[in-house]
């Protein structure tokens, strides 16, 4: 290991390894240098200059890109530096639509927080020309309001470098610079995969989800509609954060109670549908292996990944599992099986999904995800939108008693819960595939090889007398790398799980937004995943095929996994897509 560097920051001596930035070194000295454009590991470009320090050089240096050096003496808090930072904020405010009262990010805005912390009390210090931008709200998932953009480029970096999509970038120059799609195209005209990683990494209110809460309130109020709601696994791992609960708090019971109090007629659980997905997907995998089908089979739960594959890697469409994603399966089951059991006309049922995901909004609009010309899912709201509805309804979430999901489509196993974390679908599938193939009981259900937030994971799993090679990728940038490995043919993978967002759905584009500063201290993907793995551990049943309500569904309605009826309701198809749609 290289020797440590010793430097002094505001009189505090710290030792750091070579390659550490002054920004990081300062944190060791107990100093939090303010940042705005900085996003650990994703956007480290020294653009906004909030983090300037005096290192004895001719001018102030941006500490996020300043390497620590031996013997360096750094000042981070002088009157000159404080004034410099205040001026940057005042200039930023001069071109910012200061609609803080109604802004979706009010109280969770990094610009607002900096102004408060650094004592900027003149919002109108510099009144000048401001460009008026049209809000782009044509995407089913993402809204861009450049009137609030601070040009930090965090969205650009995450889109291009983490997700390998790159449908936005800085255009023009100087005062006219804006973050946009090329050739004045709208986001919906580009090959945006709707993942929403731009939203959860935006420091301000320039990017947000396409709000559907009003449509959902209307459905609830409509007496002719029987409204069924279903929350995804990852929602329960993060919803509490919106109400001040510590990250990683599982709020399943409170969430069920809150949903009922909001007025939904039936509260089901997407975890149930996750178990159902495993039944169908494991069956499809076994069929592909025994009948010489296309391998490796790839999971199809993540709509961001599906659109990515359709657009950028259409060669792999035959590898995608034909299974609909869990909430779509739930929609199809609710409008057939549940409707029959309850004697309801499917036309009178509305299915609302609460998802950690903005791409689910796009997915629900896919014409192929319907049955008898009724969409499987009628509305999708994100975790953030649910939190807003709960607040709007005045529900004291933190003090709610725990509730249960309604029966018929409400029971779930631990396998369904872990769908929300990268590797979770794989682990759930392995639990069922192992028992299906070997006919033996799987004693140790935990497959730690496929857990964790590493971008690409591989494992060789002994099932009966064969070793099955599997791989897991999260983040579409990592997916690209894994697909290249598949193309090269170096590894004969049988099954691959891909989720569009880094870390899986727990870090989805519809989840509560965590500041860049907090992300320097903890890995939200790890913390939220802990909540899901904890729920799994505490469940009496941890294998999808042991779910009693799933067994009942097959017994009373679907017959068996992969049956004709299952194919009609629970499976879908994919299409190659163009890069540009104008």
């Amino acid at each position: 290991m290289d020797k440590l560097l010793t430097l002094t920051i505001d009189g505090v001596e710290v030792q750091v390894p070579q390659g550490t930035t002054v920004l990081e070194a300062a944190r060791q000295a107990g100093i939090r240098i303010p940042t705005l454009c900085f996003l650990k590991g994703i956007n480290e470009i020294g653009a906004c200059r909030m983090c300037v320090v005096d290192s004895g050089a001719r001018s102030l240096q941006a500490s996020c890109v300043l390497p620590a050096a031996d013997g360096m003496k750094v000042k981070t808090n002088t009157p000159e530096i404080r004034k410099y930072r205040q001026n940057i904020l005042k200039l930023t405010l001069s071109t910012h639509a200061r609609k803080c009262l109604s802004c979706i990010r009010s109280q969770n805005c990094e610009l607002q927080a900096l102004c408060r912390e650094l004592g900027v009390d003149e919002e109108e210090a510099y009144e000048g020309v401001r460009t008026e931008y049209t809000i782009d709200d044509l995407s089913p998932s993402i809204v861009r309001d450049n009137n609030k953009c601070v040009l930090c480029r965090r969205c650009v970096s995450v889109c291009a470098h983490v997700q390998n999509v790159g449908v936005i970038g800085p255009v023009h120059r100087g005062f006219k610079t804006a973050i946009e799609s090329p050739w004045e195209m709208k986001l919906s005209e580009m090959s945006c995969i709707n993942c929403g990683q731009c939203i959860v990494n935006c420091p301000v209110g320039a990017l947000y989800e396409k709000d559907e809460t009003k449509a959902v309130w209307d459905l609830i109020r409509d007496p002719s509609k029987h409204v069924v709601v279903q929350p995804a696994p990852a929602v329960r791992a993060a919803l509490g954060e919106e109400f001040g609960l510590p990250m990683g708090t599982s709020v399943t019971g409170k969430m069920a109670t809150a949903l009922r109090r909001l007025g939904f007629d039936q509260v089901f659980d997407t975890d149930f549908a996750a178990d159902l997905t495993i039944m169908e997907e494991a069956n499809e995998l076994v069929e592909r292996i025994t009948n010489g089908g296309v391998l490796p089979m790839m999971t199809s739960c993540s709509p961001g990944w599906i659109k990515y594959c359709e657009t950028y890697h259409p060669d792999f469409l035959p590898n995608l599992s034909s299974c609909k994603s869990p909430h779509e399966m739930m929609g199809a089951v609710v409008k057939t099986y549940y409707a029959q059991k309850k004697g309801l006309d499917p036309k009178d049922i509305a299915v609302v999904s609460v998802m950690p995901c903005t791409a689910k909004k796009f997915e629900a609009d896919r014409p192929e995800l319907s049955h008898d010309s009724l969409a499987d899912v009628d509305a999708v709201i994100t975790t953030r939108e649910l939190a807003r509805m709960i607040k709007e309804a005045g529900i004291d979430f933190v003090n709610l008693p725990d509730g249960d999901f309604d029966s018929l489509c409400g029971e779930s196993t631990g396998a369904g819960v872990i769908f929300g974390a990268t590797g979770g679908v794989m682990e759930a599938a392995l639990r069922t595939a192992y028992e299906t193939i070997t006919g033996k009981v799987l004693e140790d259900v935990e497959f730690h090889q496929v857990r964790g937030v590493e971008g690409i994971k591989e494992a060789s799993i002994r099932i009966g007398d064969q070793d099955v090679l599997v791989a897991v990728a999260s983040g579409t940038g990592n997916a690209t790398k894994l697909l290249e490995r598949v193309k090269s043919g170096e590894k004969p993978y049988a099954f691959i799980e891909i989720m569009a967002c880094p870390g899986g759905c727990v870090n989805g584009g519809g989840q509560p937004i965590v500041s860049a500063r907090t992300k320097m201290d903890c890995d939200i993907r790890v913390e939220r995943a802990k909540a899901l793995y904890g729920e799994d551990r505490d469940k009496p049943l941890r294998k999808s095929h042991e779910n009693e309500e799933i067994k009942q569904l097959y017994r009373d309605f679907l017959e068996k996994p992969g049956s004709h009826k299952a194919h009609e309701l629970l499976h879908t198809h994919y299409q190659a897509r163009d890069l540009y749609n104008r």
Binding site: A160, V167, P170, P182, Y580
Partner: protein
């Protein structure tokens, strides 16, 4: 799109010669501008595909540098100096007059593809302020009423008489 097939072949060869080099985008854009006279949407998509970069990146660079033109320029490029000296001497009124006579905004091109009107920084001929250039020919000490006569010189003979 007459002769465009050959032009795209030329561009393809240019991309091949720069492929996998760091910073290939700038020389390829410059080359493309030379071949086509501008870097249009189709040209930029071709470059993005050829170099394996996103259209966002290509468009970002092309709009950052003023030397790149997104739309085809006219046969005659009229550049009106808005440098300090020319501006003080009233070059804005020259520009406005040109815009009025040609029926195009600043930065625009006439529908017949004959004229493009541009405002530029200092041309270095402050002694002649206000100044404009038409394809390299300098016109100094201008007044707005001279504009129609100068433009007429560049119109085809028949139209100029009419």
């Amino acid at each position: 799109m007459e002769g465009s097939k050959e032009k795209f072949e030329q561009l393809r060869a240019l991309i091949e010669s720069h492929k996998d080099q760091p910073g290939a985008l700038m020389p390829v854009l410059q080359g493309a501008q030379g071949i086509f006279g501008c870097v249009s949407e189709d040209v930029q998509k071709f470059i993005a595909d050829g170099l394996g970069v996103t259209l966002s990146e290509v468009y970002g660079v092309a709009t950052f540098y003023s030397q790149f033109s997104l739309h085809p320029k006219g046969e005659y490029l009229i550049s009106v100096c808005l440098g300090t000296a020319c501006y003080v001497k009233g070059s804005q009124s020259i520009l406005d007059k040109l815009s009025e006579v040609l029926h195009i905004p600043v930065g625009g091109t006439t529908p017949d593809g004959r004229f493009t009107l541009e405002a530029t920084r200092c041309l270095g001929a402050c002694g002649l302020a206000p100044v404009m250039m038409i394809n390299g020919e300098v016109y100094g000490r201008l007044t707005p009423d001279q504009v129609p006569g100068i433009i007429a010189k560049y119109q085809p003979a028949s139209e100029a008489q009419a």
